[in-house]
């Protein structure tokens, strides 16, 4: 048990701090994050190794060895300084590692540099309306036409599709193969004729996602990553990298802090919420959970440092983390009373309406990307070794 990072890493932390002190004023500010400003900041971060840190120099990265603690320190310091982190889009977090693992040299040269510099924006074409949790049942088909595929079908939950230059997309190239086979992983331009993007409004009122429709979209066969028919395996390699996305390592902790502040400052009939034992008790229950998940995260981090498989402790994080974030938002809404239902641009709005927005969006996270139900199946089967459900007879 040693929670110090040690002198080597503290020196690194000092470096990051020094960088931030010197350059933070060049960071794009909230609200005025222009494309150009974002790219300039990203370029600066790559030069100093605070973005694309472990991408080889040959492909435009910084070329450092992977080091989990360094990554964490970067995240901690950027959050503490309120500075925007390096770009974290799906192209950078999912496609780039996949190309490094399974792409051809040509694909790497062509795509990694522009992607990490933010010059090419990607979206991900995995989910379909009929597939949901059962991703392998996807139906978008790619029929052969000479050296090309003709793609027809529909994708959903495609965030940033309306902004994206390119898509990495799963399509069924071998319709007669078993469902986990016969899928291929294609890269193509979102400007290809036959692609229509429709915004997908969610319960938050915003269009955080899109639907993407393909009608005879022509894509050269050469734009496959990995082998033809092996797209399922390639995609799973990609999914593995999803957690590589950096962010606030203790989002729940930040939210709790805001809740405590809320309870200290909001009053009802002149009484502070924190002086009401019922609110206090509920806040304390949440605080225990936040601490438990924070320390659980330290435990997992240590495991990763030691190269251990995360196992059961890793499998529960999404289920418990999303639920906890949802419950933290629920506390704020409840404690705010009528103020808690305000939204949009309402007067008296608290926290820009983010408590409600998070409450709903977190419910989306509980549901999406493997529902809580699927998570529990996985925990019981892979984490506890319980038997799979028998296949139905008919």
């Amino acid at each position: 048990m040693d929670l110090a990072y040690g002198p080597k890493y503290e020196a690194f932390r000092d470096e990051v701090r020094a960088f931030l002190a010197a350059h933070k004023d060049q960071a794009p500010r909230g609200g005025e994050q222009t494309m150009a400003g974002g790219r300039a900041w990203q370029k600066l971060l790559i030069e100093h190794g605070y973005a694309a840190r472990t991408i080889p120099r040959a492909y435009g990265g910084y070329g450092a060895e992977p080091d989990i603690l360094e990554s964490r320190i970067i995240a901690e310091e950027f959050v503490a300084a309120g500075a925007p982190m390096g770009m974290a889009n799906q192209g950078i977090s999912m496609l780039v590692p996949t190309l490094l693992e399974l792409g051809t040299e040509e694909q790497r040269k062509q795509w990694i540099g522009p992607t990490i510099r933010g010059e090419v924006i990607w979206c991900q074409g995995y989910s379909e309306p009929g597939s949901g949790s059962d991703l392998a049942s996807l139906k978008t088909r790619a029929s052969e036409d000479g050296d090309d595929f003709l793609i027809n079908g529909q994708k959903i939950w495609t965030s940033t599709a309306h902004l994206a230059d390119m898509i990495f997309c799963l399509v069924r190239t071998e319709p007669d193969a078993p469902k986990h086979q016969g899928i291929s992983y294609l890269l193509f331009s979102m400007k290809t004729p036959g692609i229509e993007v429709r915004p997908l409004v969610t319960m938050t009122g915003a269009a955080e996602f899109n639907e993407v429709f393909f009608t005879d979209v022509r894509v050269p066969k050469s734009q496959i990553v990995g082998e033809r028919g092996q797209g399922w395996q390639v995609a799973n390699a990609t999914l593995k990298h999803e957690r590589g996305m950096l962010g606030d390592p203790n989002q729940a902790g930040s939210r709790l802090k805001a809740l405590i502040e809320l309870a200290r400052t909001e009053t009802v009939g002149g009484e502070r919420l924190i002086d009401n034992p019922v609110w206090r008790d509920r806040l304390l229950k949440l605080q225990a959970r936040v601490y438990a998940m924070e320390f659980h995260g330290l435990r997992l981090l240590t495991g990763r440092l030691k190269g251990e498989a995360p196992g059961l402790p890793g499998l529960i994080v999404k289920l418990m983390g999303c639920e906890l974030n949802h419950q933290l938002a629920a506390f704020a809404i409840d404690a705010l009373g009528e103020l808690g239902v305000l939204y949009g641009e309402s007067p008296h709005l608290r926290n820009h309406g983010n408590w409600q927005r998070n409450y709903m969006f977190d419910l989306g996270l509980i549901i999406g990307g493997g529902t809580a139900q699927i998570q529990k199946n996985i925990i019981s089967e892979r984490g506890l070794g319980m038997p799979r459900e028998p296949k139905p007879a008919s």
Partner: protein
């Protein structure tokens, strides 16, 4: 011994429900929400035709002269269809204020217009129902009001407001009084309207009752029950939608409704919601027949339905998977309706605090 709805009550509720299915399908709700109509004219007209705005207003004033239980049944039907019309304040609380504390002249002026759907009344009593926030509070002196009232219900289309001052006195304020500023508050629920009212020495007509406290109490009790019944209707519809969706949506080669996990979620929702119906019925009955427990029952109905409603809203959304999270099926209108009802006139914690007081526990 008959603890059930009368045939008339069942028919009345059925009529409202069928009317709303006709004039207020999801697409109409969507349209109303997009354009912030919280008194959707066609829906309002259809409901007026069958007497909904005047349900508890005496027949002598042009109403139907029914009980609060009947109003709760109507609220349930409105919640079921997330109907974008005023009700809890305009058709329940304000009429009770006028009937309980208004002079004959005040009653004659407003009750017939409310019953006929020609006028809408907003009600500003949040400071008494849930406690004052952000410095809200209204002072009355010499027939004038000053200060601000937050979260006035059914405020958007209101022609008149019933306002409680800090001391619990009740006042009628015309919506177009020159020194009254009405500021709409946008909430998650686009089918309902709340506002901040700012009074600057605004002329107000006191309601005549010598002791307005019991009237204010009954207004809040009745409003809470109406909101609770709204949750019941919304929750019931969400369960039906979840069960229907689960019967159609296929994953892993079977309809998801055949997965035990999904079935159990639906069973838990139904098991939680079903006893709430009897609680609403009893609270409605108690309002007129069990004076000693009327406030307590209204409080329990409001608090318990809020808790169960939150569980149902979340769980039904979960059963719908990603579709429940999108706008495509419109399920979120029900989700937000429940969320709104939960917080108005006191969230569950606050209402339980009142319930303790009603029993001399605090």
């Amino acid at each position: 011994m008959e603890f059930c709805l009368s045939n008339d009550q069942a028919m009345m509720q059925e009529t409202i429900q069928r009317t709303l299915e006709r004039v207020c399908p999801l697409e109409r709700v969507r349209q109303a929400a997009a354009s912030h109509e919280t008194r959707a004219a066609d829906v309002w007209a259809a409901l007026t035709e069958i007497g909904v705005p005047g349900l508890i207003i005496p027949e002598e004033h042009g109403g139907v002269g029914l009980t609060l239980l009947d109003a709760a049944l109507a609220a349930e039907a409105l919640g079921r269809s997330v109907a974008p019309v005023p009700f809890a304040a305009s058709a329940v609380m304000a009429p009770l204020a006028l009937m309980g504390a208004g002079s004959p002249a005040q009653q004659a002026e407003w009750l017939p217009r409310l019953a006929a759907g020609e006028a809408v009344a907003g009600v500003a009593v949040a400071e008494h129902a849930s406690g004052a926030r952000d410095g809200a509070g209204v002072a009355a002196a010499n027939g004038r009001l000053s200060g601000k009232a937050l979260f006035a219900l059914d405020a958007g289309a209101a022609d008149v407001f019933v306002v409680a001052d800090r001391a619990g006195g009740l006042h009628l304020v015309s919506a177009d009084a020159p020194s009254l500023t009405r500021t709409a508050l946008t909430s998650i629920d686009a089918t309902r309207s709340i506002a901040e009212l700012d009074f600057a020495d605004t002329p107000a007509e006191p309601l005549a009752a010598r002791d307005p406290a019991p009237v204010l109490r009954r207004m809040i009790d009745a409003g809470r029950l109406a909101l609770a019944a709204d949750i019941l209707g919304a929750g019931q519809r969400m369960i039906e939608k979840a069960v229907d969706y689960a019967a159609e949506r296929r994953q892993f080669g079977r309809v998801i409704g055949s997965f035990q996990a999904v079935k159990h979620l639906c069973a838990e929702m139904a098991a939680e919601l079903e006893p709430c119906r009897a609680l609403i019925w009893y609270a409605g009955y108690a309002f007129d027949e069990d004076a000693e427990r009327a406030s307590l029952m209204a409080a329990h109905a409001k608090a318990h339905l809020s808790e169960v409603g939150t569980f149902v809203a979340r769980t039904a959304t979960e059963v719908h998977g990603g579709m429940g999270f999108t706008d495509l099926l419109g399920l979120h209108y029900w989700f937000k309706r429940v969320g709104f009802d939960r917080q108005m006139l006191g969230g569950p914690e606050r209402v339980r605090q009142d319930a303790a007081a009603f029993q001399g526990w605090a």
